[in-house]
Symmetry: C2
Subunit: 185 residues, 2 copies
DNA sequence: CATGGCTATATAAATATTTACATAGTGGTT
DNA sequence: AACCACTATGTAAATATTTATATAGCCATG
């Protein structure tokens, strides 16, 4: 699977499991997600395998935090995962499957399904736009003069922006085609 | 999970597990995939739950086939899955994660990664175009006069065509930006 | 007639993922 | 003081998924 490598990648700077989960909720959200109950055991295993080291840091708020750092071996594992080439064709888009069989329900439900889908895409687009606006206003180098470290993150963001814009428009188009049918019938 | 519902949806006409796997390899490929070893137990369970019935049909080629048919209860389960609204935000795109951390490897590997990604998208786009050409040449109603049963399948196909076209162009753009940097440096 | 490939079904073992639960301190509200 | 929300780490149980293996007949190729 990819989660160990995702965590290794996100540990460019030291962080706890809880921190990593927070990071999932931000820029990474549109292409990966994981629960804390999955993250913790994976971090333990990575430490056991010598990919990470950990340090207990007392916290002023709540229990002490277990901060993980990437080892040279962890970095090398990340590199070879990327060097092995892109991991594709493992996508599972449940909403497209639902659409594929949408004729199973009545027209009101079809319209409602598509409207909900459009809302979801629009919401995600908004989230990514907010990230972009924030980033570009804080860094005058955005997007073309960014250092390498950030360039690829910007490309990832851009793919998300393009995708959700396209999918929102596609939903609109589908809705128009559907509504045209109901008025004609 | 969604696999039971995906199988229920694909069983609009009776089929064996092997047949269903073949169907995964066609139009459904760009948004879902499953192994036979996962399909067989799910079919068994669906039968146990009264969603499907099965019939053993002797075959002229190889062992006898177990043909599943959807029951009224199976159809109703499919309907309620769709009525519950779109299942979103469960995507895991490993290749975008790899890109996100692409600065971990050297420039030659970065270029190679992106070229492989572009090839993969281009290949998928080709597959979907072939499906579309085949379909539109066989059915003069394509795409706007299609019956409801096929309209939503066409919309799904269209979203795939748009997506892979966009992603291929995006890869090209990324490669140009990357190459511009190497020549400038 | 041995080898490999295709159709076809299925189990076993390993791994990945989700959902529910357990624990524990801090700070605020009712 | 009871309750809730938030930070923080984790375990347990259930479920989902992949990879490897087993079986078995049919057909073509050498």
């Amino acid at each position: 699977m990819s989660l160990p490598h995702v965590l290794l990648g996100m540990l460019a700077s030291p962080a706890s499991g809880y921190d990593l989960k927070q990071r999932f909720g931000q820029s990474v959200r549109h292409f990966w997600h994981a629960e804390l109950s999955q993250i913790y055991p994976v971090l333990s295993k990575l430490e056991k395998d010598g990919m990470l080291t950990s340090e207990n840091v007392p916290s002023d708020k709540g229990p002490s935090r277990k901060i993980y750092s990437r080892t040279a071996r962890g970095t090398s594992s990340l590199k070879s995962w990327i060097s092995d080439g892109p991991v594709c064709r493992t996508e599972r888009l449940a909403y497209l499957t639902q659409l594929f069989f949408l004729d199973a329900v009545n027209m009101a439900q079809r319209i409602s399904f598509m409207e909900n889908l459009r809302s979801d895409f629009a919401e995600r687009l908004g989230e990514l736009k907010a990230i972009e606006e924030n980033w570009s206003s804080e860094d005058p180098r955005y997007p073309d003069e960014l250092p390498d470290q950030e360039l690829y993150k910007q490309m990832t963001l851009r793919s998300g922006l393009m995708k959700y814009k396209m999918m929102t428009e596609w939903c609109e188009e589908c809705l128009n085609r559907m509504k045209k049918r109901t008025t004609e019938a």
